[in-house]
Assembly symmetry: C2
Homo-oligomer: 410 residues x 2
């Protein structure tokens, strides 16, 4: 009997009616003859309310105690989900993270799963029960409750799928699958039947994904097919799996974009071996997230460094640069805002060296100047003026044959 | 260093401001040089909201899952309490029931504590931390989460005090202590400095107490002094302890009363050995709570049985009696409603045989007819007409010297 793992996020279990609807999906998988393990998140915004309370009591709440507090959210959902299932005649049992044997490292708020002791889970499955597991949480070997940080419930689901050698892991969410691009902006965006782990990872890291990168990485490492699908309507989702089993004809699978990007250029620093590390260590220590980085050495052996940041971080970035002026001995700092980042992602690029060139040609044809470029094996990112973003995205979407059409499964 | 156990009920931790106020009381005990273990309940009515959700999903929610659900309430409070303490510079740590080593029998919704494994608690105390423990919950040897039922947090506190050989157990609540009678009705009611376990048990069982009988019994068995005190204002509370250390001069310590009592009389049954057991087993099986019972054998060897019930249970009682008429072969059922029960409680009665007579004399002087009487070693209960209740209570309160005055500790 194949084991299926399912996961329902917070919006999919936001109230009693939604929990019932999710329970119906669990029941269906069970009725089809599968062993079913279902991971649930905290209901809707219930965790936010708890965290609000914490900040009423402490400016900087203790991390261990935040874990103690926040882990109650999923514990509420698991019990309610079992009640809903029992009402439908399905035998089920709820398990907290620690009861489900999810062991983590001794880090609060952002622990990684180290091991899953499956005895308890397997005992309940053998008794024919659906097992409902609290996502996002685990326990250290010393019996301390931990939480897994952002995307934690996805990670719980994938880790359980790996430990139980499940056939697949379905992530039920408020979208119907993974799209070629954000359908709110790109009207012709369409849902993908499948996407590779690596492509999904790039899209997830670009903020365009519905899955957390950690969960995707975990699924990739253990070759667990992930299925992203809607918790509200019945529709096939998108399968995240190894390249081999997918449509091969698409060079570019997805297109991600974000606005509010600012480019900062630090000009004419002496060309020393520690210049780059000094600069970016200082920025990192202030919690400033730097994205694309370009370094250029001038003819007279001075160094210019440009990097992109979120526009919100500009003020702090300039302050940090001010404090390290004497150290870096730069001549000038300039910045350009109202920029955006547009990226194309696809495993097919590896064997198609001309893809970046294609992208630049499309942008040139639309008369969009490119401010910065960054590439990986399966991704090309460009920084362009914000006002060109939508036009650029739509042209690229059409050029790379991502527009809505009837897709035939390979 | 003496160990103190404290307990804060739901109304004492109902919001962030109240949690802060409770934390100040914890801090004070710690600052005085004690090892402090504090038990907390769920915030205000938060558990009710969770149970409401459960009933939206199931007409009869699974008991195991209700425990899973309800135990989150205290887990929220413990973490918030630690955050509040840390903000005040007090090192503290929260422990759920299972983390605190509270082992229970394998019964859901109403488990009894079987054992407390104190290693974890003692380790944290040795490190100088205040330990905040979730009340009302425990774990079975198989790792199932259980709750202790009504009065559960009081029981947790007393059980921890016994296991840790604590000096005392303070129950912080929304009243300032134990009163001679209900101060909302008896204007001259006053707070007691001390009361014995047995007296407290009688009062608690009469519904007049602020403590759950289970907790009092536990405290009595392990000789843990209980201190009932206000969580809102600074004031000495009432100590519940062994008789020896208390004022000896009071024969009657407290006066309890309740209205909406109905007396039911089953007349002229054949005098068989199983008559009483048949009658009261049938009533018990229907969940009808019977209080005072009087049996009388007539001259011609027929049996009359009178018993008091809550007026709400009258209709069902009459129905049950109807179904067992052929079995009991009674001639008639009569009932009198608009009655009340007035009880006096005091350990001093044991050595003062005239106390019941005193009570009847007071009632006679006020021209209050007595419908029923029931006595125990330290209690006399009378059932009288409801319209006389307040007058009777006030007269008895004065006669037994319970009225407000300056009390001098023995």
């Amino acid at each position: 009997m194949a084991t299926l793992v399912q996961k329902f996020g917070g919006t999919s279990v936001g109230d009693a009616a939604k929990i019932k609807r999710a329970a119906e999906k669990v029941k269906r998988a069970k009725d089809e003859g599968h062993e079913v393990v279902t991971v649930v998140s905290a209901m809707g915004k219930s965790t936010d309310a708890l965290v609000d309370l914490a900040y009423q009591l402490s400016e900087e709440p203790d991390k261990r105690e935040l874990d103690m507090l926040m882990s109650t959210g999923e514990q509420v959902t698991i019990s309610l989900m079992v009640m809903a299932l029992k009402e439908m005649g399905i035998d089920a049992v709820s398990l907290t993270g620690w009861q489900a044997g999810i062991r983590t490292e001794d880090v609060h708020q952002n622990a990684r799963i180290t091991d899953i002791k499956t005895e308890n889970l397997e005992r309940h499955l053998k008794e024919g029960k659906v097992v409902i597991v609290a996502g996002f949480q685990g326990m250290t070997p010393e019996g301390e409750i931990t939480t897994l940080g952002r995307g934690g419930s996805d990670t719980t689901a994938v880790a359980l799928a790996a430990a139980l050698k499940a056939e697949s892991c379905s992530i039920f969410t408020d979208v119907t699958g993974v799209y070629t691009s954000d359908p709110r902006v790109v009207k012709k965006a369409r849902q993908l039947q499948s996407i590779s782990y690596d492509e999904m990872l790039e899209l997830a890291n670009l903020g365009a994904g519905v899955l957390h990168p950690r969960a995707v990485e975990f699924a990739k490492n253990y070759s667990i097919p992930l299925i992203v699908r809607s918790s509200m309507i019945d529709q096939e989702g998108t399968v995240v799996e190894e390249e081999a089993s997918m449509e091969q004809n698409l060079v570019v699978r997805g297109l991600a974009f974000e606005s509010a990007v600012t480019k900062v250029t630090v000009e004419r620093m002496p060309n020393r071996v520690d210049t780059l590390s000094s600069l970016f260590t200082s920025l990192a220590e202030s919690g400033i997230n730097v994205d694309v980085i370009i370094q250029q050495v001038t003819e007279d052996q001075k160094v210019n460094v440009s990097f992109s940041i979120h526009t919100q971080a500009l003020k702090e970035t300039l302050e940090v640069l001010e404090t390290i002026q004497s150290k870096l001995q730069y001549q000038k700092v300039r910045h350009v805002d109202q920029l955006s980042k547009v990226s194309i992602v696809g495993s097919g690029m590896i064997s198609n060296p001309g893809v970046a060139a294609d992208m630049f040609r499309v942008l040139a044809k639309e008369e969009v100047p490119v401010e910065m470029v960054s590439t990986s094996e399966i991704k090309v990112s460009t920084v362009i003026e914000e006002k060109y973003m939508v036009k650029a995205v739509e042209s690229l979407h059409t050029f790379f044959e991502l527009d809505e059409r009837v897709e035939v499964r390979a």
